[in-house]
Amino acid sequence: MHSKTSDLLISDACFSYTGGFTLNHINLFVPNGQMVGLLGPNGCGKTTLLKLAAGVLVPSEGDVRIGEMSLKKLLRREVARQIAVVPQEFNIPFAYTVEEVVMLGRTPFLKGLNGESKRDHQIVSGVLELTGMAGFRNRYFNELSGGERQKIVLAMALAQEPVILLLDEPTSHLDISHQIEILELLRRFNREKKVTIVAAMHDLNLAALYFDRLVLLDRGLVFADGSPDEVITGEIIRKVFSAKVEITRHPKTSVPQIVLLPDNPSSFS
């Protein structure tokens, strides 16, 4: 059962693994169709926030809603039909083909002993096309390169036909060209299918380039939330990342880009 709208609302959510606070009264509203980048140093709670948004973790206080429905009230299966996740790590110890892996994305829709329907196969084909991996259909997943695998994992998540797509550092292990590929795909998907995207990013420049809105977390709290111009400032970066940077403008799109400053610039010339 779908909610009336598919806005994502995290209200006043708290969560801790053991002892101290991982997430502390987080409020985040992502309207349908937005593409949001989650930033922050390691351990700030990005992954935890994504898991709360996906419904696999339950906040100790506060609530997570999709549209009007609280995730707590939905079955896992119902949630998976609307929210898909591309996790940071992905390995399969068995020899599945690419097609089989992408088909796993249809799991929330498969019933009992029935096989896949024609529609399921159509969706899988469509998603393989979208990600440009149609030619890899019968290859073994484990034999692909890192970049190729990431695209397949993305395809699998897309096969769930989600209204909200969550990604945990989707570009961190990839070559530059693959990073661009993935982000271009996400942007296209967001623009064309109106899928809401929330992605944890570690590369600030790529995040500024591809995301309309950036949310910066620091030690379980939202430190900054706004456009790249508002969030990527020298002051904020210094405060949160303890790094000295200079802000320049991207030559083509004029979004802010950070340039790292070494401690002793004079030793370089």
């Binding site: 896992r76 119902e78 892996v101 796993l104 994305g105 002993l113």
Partner: protein
């Protein structure tokens, strides 16, 4: 190979039937296949003529051989299916049905029963198989409880708890044995149990175990899709909409039930639950919807053959079936591995 799925399933079923017929016809009392067919059809009411076989053949066929071979079918199917379930759940092709302590639990129950001066027969089951069954289930429950923390029972914790429980139970078994009377005979009996062997004496045992095993396999097939999802890990499975803790418990439960059933009529037969799922995965691919029924059929056939060899190779003495499953299984498995080296590139 993956394309001819229905053909392979059908082939496996026919192979199983052939192997069963063969096994039933071989033994100290000679019964030929035509005689078997005549006797069975007569029993069922289709074939009216009597004569053409001796009374002792009919008696041996129905009272000794058929129950035993059917026992082998059930044990082989149950262990293979349990193996598939555990390998899928633990995402580990080296998992076998005994991985979380079912073996030591069953051995513990069986040893206790062997040492008690009680004798009871319940639907053809003596105290030993019943205790083995309960022991197997009991140890899984214990392991699950030990591994459970904060509402979740992570796989790694279960493996560790399984190891600890096993070691502990084995130590107690040794202790009980040293304190017992008739130690020489008891050691022989426990050894027999540990080595494995089909001990079906009464039809009632089949009547009790068969429905349980069939139920277990059918239940396993209902979980095939979910097991496929588990291949990407517990976290990934959750993202795909699987209620991980609940499904894990159910799958563990079904797998343990199947293992307990197998142990109650076969003792601790190793290798079947490990290599049959493995072999089937290498031949047919990792989709559990195919893997489960194929493994059940192949496992049943494999064990019928192993049991046949066990009771004929050194007749009248019997080789423990567990020894044969290892002797046949290991080389065959090596062969399969070499043919498909791409399977386990992590």
């Amino acid at each position: 190979m993956r394309k001819h799925k229905t053909a392979i399933m059908f082939g496996l079923a026919v192979f199983l039937l052939a192997v069963v017929l063969l096994s039933v016809s071989i033994g100290p009392v000679r019964i030929t296949v035509p005689e078997i067919i005549k006797i069975v059809l007569h029993k069922v009411g289709i074939y009216r003529n009597t004569g053409g076989w001796q009374a002792v053949q009919e008696s041996i066929l129905f009272q000794v051989r058929l129950p035993r071979v059917l026992g082998a079918v059930l044990v082989g199917a149950a262990l293979s299916t349990a193996g598939v379930l555990f390998q899928g759940l633990f995402r580990n092709p080296m998992a076998d049905p005994y991985i979380i302590g079912t073996a030591s639990g069953a051995a513990f129950g069986a040893t206790l029963a062997m040492l008690l001066p009680l004798s009871l027969v319940f639907y053809g089951f003596g105290l030993v198989p019943i205790a083995a069954f309960l022991g197997a289930l009991g140890s899984v429950l214990l392991v699950y409880r030990l591994a459970r923390f904060g509402g979740k029972a992570p796989i790694i914790s279960m493996l560790l708890a399984g190891f600890v429980t096993s070691s502990f139970l084995v130590a107690i078994i040794m202790l009980l044995l040293t304190m017992s009377d008739r130690l020489g005979l008891k050691i022989q009996q426990v050894f027999s149990f540990l080595m494995g062997g089909i001990t079906v004496t009464y039809w009632q045992q089949i009547e009790v175990i068969a429905p349980l095993v069939v139920l277990g396999i059918v239940a396993a097939m209902f979980f095939a899709v979910k097991l496929n999802a588990f291949s990407i890990g517990e976290e990934g499975a959750a993202y795909l909409g699987i209620n991980v803790e609940r499904e894990k418990m159910i799958i563990l439960g079904v797998g343990s039930l199947l293992t307990a059933c197998a142990v109650s009529i076969g003792g601790l037969i190793g290798f079947v639950g490990l290599i049959i799922p493995h072999a089937m995965r290498l031949i047919l691919g990792p989709d559990h919807r195919l893997l489960i029924p194929a493994s059940a059929l192949a496992g049943a056939a494999f064990l019928v053959i192993a049991d046949l060899l066990a009771r004929t190779l050194l007749s009248p003495a019997e080789i423990p079936v567990g020894v044969l499953t290892a002797l046949i299984g290991a080389p065959f498995f090596l062969y399969l591995l070499r043919r498909s080296r791409r399977e386990y590139a992590f």
